[in-house]
């Protein structure tokens, strides 16, 4: 007879071990999946997890991609994790990301073709504001009317997607684009281009901000009273209220912060790797960031590592698609599976496995 016994305290060992075990399990089941798809499982796993960093032939190209893909994931996941800690479920980061990109791009395009040095900082600000405003909608509805933030923030993703489609073909369309949908290309406009800071590293401003966000979140959560209150709200809402924490304020701060970061991520993406506002600009980073946040144990440093790992599966996935003909969708499944295994393995953090009969107390 196997049963679970609650631990008095979450196990520290398992907090770290669980993500590692989840990754191994995902590799194993993923290998079976690739075998079923007719690819050599060992080769597929090596292509995804090893080749992008160490293969002499590709690494010079794929290694910089690691930071490019990880930056938006880390930026968004940091914001989400702070909310998740307080029990505030912002599931609409994808929408905030899109709105950040649209607002930031629009603010810049309004001043085209100025080459002022202020253009890019202003666009970053506008992008952050766009994401913030989009996140304030569920936040205010929650604090005013008690509306469920999960459903509202998610519905807003679909609204943001229709807005994106509309501005890409209308308001923000490139006037010199011969009627094709999509905005001007920021890569051809130096003042607004989020270029690589050191060439060949993939390091752009989004990466810088991602690192700042990691440090900022770490300080906030471990050294600041607000971070303490956020954690308290999530772990013991009643106790938090008795100690004078106003739940409405926490909701506004947490959602606002994650909207801000997601909006920035959108702006860095549209001015950098994506280059322009287009109908299919949204990339699913907002949803993958949820996995990153959990895989990183809602801990800033953990999220940094998880973001890099998830970026690796993106790049490795593309490589596997190219080299082995593995369908691209299998990577998405791979990432979902990772979250699933993590949640399952996590039981050992809070519970101990006991084999044998229950003793009589």
């Amino acid at each position: 007879m196997i049963r679970l016994e609650k631990r008095p305290q979450p196990s520290r060992l398992w907090t770290i071990l669980a993500p590692v075990l989840a990754v191994l399990l995902t590799m194993f089941v993923g290998g079976l999946l690739f075998a079923a798809l007719g690819a050599n499982p060992f080769e597929a796993i090596r292509t995804i997890f090893w080749d992008p960093i160490f293969n002499a032939q590709f690494a010079s190209f794929t290694r910089p991609q690691l930071l490019v893909k990880a930056a938006p994931l880390i930026l968004i996941a940091i914001g989400l994790s702070i909310g998740f800690r307080a029990g505030i479920w912002n599931i609409g980061a994808e929408g905030q990301y899109i709105m950040g990109a649209i607002c930031g791009a629009a603010a810049g395009l309004a001043l085209y073709p100025s080459e002022s040095l202020l253009i890019f900082p202003m666009m970053v600000l506008a992008g952050a504001l766009g994401g913030w405003v989009w996140a304030m909608i569920p936040a205010i509805l929650k604090t005013r009317f008690g509306t469920n933030e999960i459903l509202v923030s998610l519905m807003l993703v679909y609204v943001a997607e229709t807005i994106l489609g509309s501005v890409a073909t209308g308001l923000l369309r490139n006037p010199e684009g011969r009627g094709f949908p999509g905005s001007r290309n920021f890569k051809q406009w130096d003042a607004a281009h989020n270029a690589e800071i050191f060439s060949g590293t993939g390091m752009h401003w989004g990466v810088v901000f991602a690192f700042i966000a990691v440090i900022g979140a770490y300080v906030l959560l471990t050294r600041h009273i607000l971070g303490y209150n956020i954690r308290l709200t999530g772990e013991a809402p009643r106790a938090a209220r008795f100690s004078g924490v106003r739940p409405a304020r926490i909701v506004l701060i947490c959602l606002g912060l994650s909207g801000l970061l997601a909006g920035m991520a959108g702006l860095f993406e549209v001015t950098g790797p994506a280059g322009q506002i287009s109908i299919d600009f949204n990339s699913g980073y907002g949803f993958t960031a949820i996995i990153v946040a959990f895989l990183g144990r809602l801990n800033p440093v953990g999220i940094l590592l998880a973001g890099l790992l998830m970026a690796l599966t993106y790049i490795g996935g593309e490589l596997a698609q190219l080299m082995l003909g593995v369908p691209g969708a299998s990577i998405q499944l791979f990432q979902g599976m990772l979250l699933f295994f993590l949640l399952g393995v996590d039981v050992f953090t809070n519970y101990r496995l006991r084999i044998g009969r229950r003793e009589i107390a």
Binding site: L4, E5, K6, W89, I91, L141, R144, F145, G146, T147, N148, I150, L151, V152, L154, M155, L156, V157, Y158, V159, T162, I163, G165, S166, F287, I290, I291, F294, P327, A329, S330, I331, Q332, L333, F334, Q335, G336, M337, L339, F340, L343, G344, D346, V347, N350, Y351
Partner: protein, 307 residues
């Protein structure tokens, strides 16, 4: 704009068709939530049902087999959620999201070879006598079987929860799992059954989308229908009859905006296409502002028989 191009008879008839997938998913989710479990994976289960139903229907040329396979596949997927949340005590919100991500990934993987194919669809049942009634007949009585089945299902769920002993136990588990456990009811087993039922219903809803409503497979075709089903459960304050009303209202918005687009209404197209989601938000706000309650007290709380 030419409103006269909108035929009211066809409008009502198409509202019934467009409401059916959400109704199926929502009534299943309501049973799950009544048992105290919040499964946010409806979207993932629906799209899995859509792709499996489509694939099986195309290969067997039998839509009925498609529906059956969709229900089984989504129930199996929901079983993964059940095992994680009930035995391994994982966070229900996170696991539900994970289920959606897995479902979306898996469906596009399975669906790739089926893009651009037309599926065998359900025949319209022209119910004798009733469908011959002049206007009402075409509006209400000449649909396919699933439209009626979904309504029968709502009635069955309503009667089950209200009048049967098993329904009472299910509600008791959802209201207070500790008391139900103390009375000797198998909380985990009952919840697993509810989760399986919810999964099967979501699968049927998804299959209805890909086999009848659109009759083809496109990636991400559920486009938030599963989330809207979740919102409808809140809208309905966890009552079966109101779930049906909610689904039909929502179906009405979806069809009406399409008709208005076709008629060239003087409203931006983006606003029209976003309207189903905007309406859902507005309805949610009104419901929560009114303070309409009825959520099962144990909703979303993990149960472990340790205390």
């Amino acid at each position: 704009m030419d409103l006269s191009s909108i035929n009211p008879i066809l409008l009502i008839a198409s509202i019934m068709v467009s409401a059916t997938p959400i109704l199926l998913a929502a009534i299943g989710e309501m049973v799950v939530e009544k048992s105290g479990v919040l499964n946010l994976g409806v979207e993932g289960m629906m799209i899995t049902g859509a792709v499996v139903g489509f694939a099986v229907a195309v290969n067997s040329t039998s839509p009925a087999a498609g529906f059956l396979a969709a229900a089984v596949a989504s129930a199996l997927l929901s079983l993964a959620f059940g095992v994680l949340t009930q035995f391994l005590l994982s966070n229900q919100v996170a696991t539900g999201l994970g289920l959606t991500l897995v479902g979306l990934g898996m469906s596009s993987l399975i669906g790739k070879p089926y893009e651009g194919i037309k599926s065998p669809t359900l025949p319209k049942l022209d119910i004798p006598v009733l469908s011959d009634i002049p206007v009402l007949g075409r509006m209400l009585f000449s649909h396919d079987l699933m439209v009626y089945l979904s309504l029968v299902l709502v009635a069955c769920v309503w009667a089950f929860l209200k009048y049967t002993r098993a329904g009472l136990i299910l509600r008791a588990v959802g209201e207070s799992h500790d008391s139900a456990h103390a009375l000797g009811y198998k909380v985990v087993r009952i919840r697993l059954l509810a989760i399986l039922f919810g999964g099967a219903c979501a699968g049927l809803g998804g299959a209805y989308l890909s086999l009848v409503r659109v009759p083809q497979w496109t990636e991400g075709m559920t486009a938030g229908a599963g989330w809207i089903a979740l919102a409808i459960v809140v809208f309905a304050s966890w009552r079966a009859g109101r779930v049906a009303i909610g689904a039909y209202l929502f179906g009405g918005v979806t069809v009406l905006q399409l008709n208005l687009q076709a008629a060239g209404a003087d409203v931006p197209v983006a606003l029209l296409s976003a309207s189903p989601y905007l309406v859902t938000i507005i309805v949610l706000v009104i419901i929560s502002a009114l303070g309409a309650h009825g959520a099962p007290a144990s909703l979303g709380r993990p149960f472990h028989a340790s205390s």
